[in-house]
Amino acid sequence: MLFPILGLMLLIAFITILSSYANNKVKRDLVILDAIGHLEDNFYDIALDIQQLNITTSSQSSDITSRLTKSTTQIDTLFDALQSGGSYQNSADKTIKVNELKTESSRSELLKLSVIWQDYKTQLNNLNDPVATTKLANFVYAQKNSISTSINTIAADSFAYTYRWNTIVRYILLIGPLLISLYIAGLAWFYFNRVSSSENQLQMAGKRSDEILSAVNEGLFLIDKDLVIADEYSKALEGIVNHTKLAGKRLPDILSKLVSPKDLEDTKTFVGQLFSEWVVEDLVTDLNPLKKLRTQVPTELGGYEERFLDFRFSRVYEEDEVVRILVSVRDISDAVRLEKNLESEKQQSDRQLEMLSTIMNSDPNILQHFIDSTLVRIDNINDILKTPGSTKKELMNKATEIYRELHSLKGESSAMQLDSFVSRSEDAETKVKYLIDKREISGNEFLSLAIDLDELLNLTIFVKNLTDRIGFIGEGINEQVNVFANNEKPEIFDKKLAKAHEQLVHETTQTKQLMPQSAHNLDANLDSSNGSMAEEATQSLNPDTTQNIANTSPESADSIANFYNQFAQEIAKRNHKQISFQCLGMDNVMLTPEQVNLVKDISIQLLRNSIVHGIEAPQVRQQKDKPPVGRVNLILEENLNEGTATLSIMDDGQGIQYEKLRQAALASGKYHPDKVAKWTKKELLRLMFVPNLSTAETSTEDAGRGIGMDVVKTLVGKLKGKLQINSKADEYTRFSIIFPTFH
């Protein structure tokens, strides 16, 4: 800005100087013109005076003479001045400075004039007689024209010179302002252009930031100290916070629908603290109440959708002072979901690891037994599902049978502390339970069970593979199992194979009992027992294995007792009970594998019953003057003379709760209250075996499904046995199952 103004001033100064110089020139020439005029006047005066002197009397002549003298002096002065510069007195007695004549023509004319003047002057000085005067008068007359011509020439010359400069001045005066105007116009144009281009740039910048704000998929906005949202914010913001026209609104008003009142208060405090210079911005992000904000957002369909929003706050400074806060909001729901998925995958692998550690800590024989029986159960359930049945009763029966299998599986896996099995079988159990309770079953509804079943099978195979890989199974009696589990997906559903396997186990057990040392006999026995599968199995049974079978026996008996003990203690711990458990004679009685399984299932059910329903909590027992640790016995004994065996489970708990049974009957609404009120103990006991009638307050892993005794009844039926119940209030309960050992 400074240089254009300086330029303008210089231009004005230049024009002023130029015009004043030209003006001076004009003025000087005007003075010369004046001087020439004056010269002419004096010549004229002299001529006039001489003529007067010629005709006047001498009395007047002194006046004229003095005028002549004056004119003469004047002309001399003027000649000097015009010739070489000087000054003269004008008619008003004012001293005028005159410059010498410059042009050659003027100077020569002046010279001519001065020659005439010298004559003139000589004659003037000798005006002492009238003759001289007349002679001078004649001379003046004769010279009049040449004097006038010379003066005119000089004057014209001077005038031409003056005129030229005058024209220059005129031009300067005309062109100067024009130049100045042009300069100013140029400047104006330049500045206007510059302003408009910067305005354009500003507009472009504005447009670009608008583009950014409309394209960015993050919510971006500024808030001031009063938490008011600034006019410019990103388009995505409206969608993210589900709110339109946000400019000028207060942030708390927008958030009130998304966050709890407490979080809203915290947000206000948090933002307030960000405006305080004292707080270090980077060190308060942990306190941001809107970090990973979980919120419910209404969907187009009218429901609500869970979304996670992430608000970030950053200070905006203006001259070292926090003036605004830039807030960015992102919808991080997808990221959070992904994180959750990863978390659940991690949990799953943790579970597998946990399972691995369970497996490592389990007794190999029990584990093998669990794997076998689980495979059989899954096979059973599959068979049940395959069995055709379309009537409501058939479907209901199917559901109930599946339920029993799942229930047993759950019981066993909880005894093994295989939590993945427990949760999976519980899920399936809950599904079936729902179907049973609904009492409206269609065949299709079993379909979803196939998935659970498949999962359970996968889990079993997983455990199987793990145990195989760890390598502590695969010796002794268990070797046989590998025959049909070595394939990745064992053909468990192949009945023939399973049967062959069962037979094999059976035969081996017999062999073990009868001829422990004879490998040859064992082989023979196996050969004769059953078809091709048995042969295949035999190939893996080398003589060494036979030795192992014999050795396994005592360890196995110990393991069975351990298994029950582990199971019983586990249930007690889960139900906050304390027990001492004793297991006797479980391996003393020779049973078929089927019987072994049935005895095991019954034992598991009844043990669970005794601990959950029979044994009281330690405090309760102490109130009753009983030791806090309850006793539970599981005994299998053979009644040799009768060809039967007795399985008994006894606890020193509270005895059968007849009144609870009565209340459960009333609560079920299935019976007439008057009849229920009159029921005897024996009639009430029968209720224990009614499906779906539970006395437990809540449903847990161990109790409350109202199915346990129902299962026991069926299992006892399969054993062709009889069930006896003895009980005394606050003293004991004993379940005895007497069944034939003949096979």
Binding site: E265, Q273, V279, V280, L283, D286, L287
Partner: protein, 132 residues
Amino acid sequence: MYKLLIVDDSIIIQQRIRNIFQDADVNIVGMANNGVEAIEMFEHYKPDIITMDLTMPQMGGLECIQQLIAMDKDVSILVVSALSDKSTGLKALQYGARGFISKPFDQYKLLYALQKLIAAKNKHRLAQITDK
């Protein structure tokens, strides 16, 4: 070098913070087990930076911060506390703490916080000097 005081009722946390700051550009002048000890040590050592737990016996962090700020408004307090409730942390800021690090913390987070505090402290001092 700035002087630093560690306030935490857990000796394990005290040691951990001390170990992290061992090679940092700071002089650890003391470790207090609660607010009362913190104030005694503050009067004695006049530390510039304090790491402060919030839940402590005898005198908790919030009250301690209030008293310390009343004694010296320029002391830089960094709250290092388990974050059960954000409003307690925010309260600490309102009382004059300069930052908050939630437990559990890793060494980088704590060292970063120290660096930030020292920078803020330097800036503050510079501003005070130029004002004078």
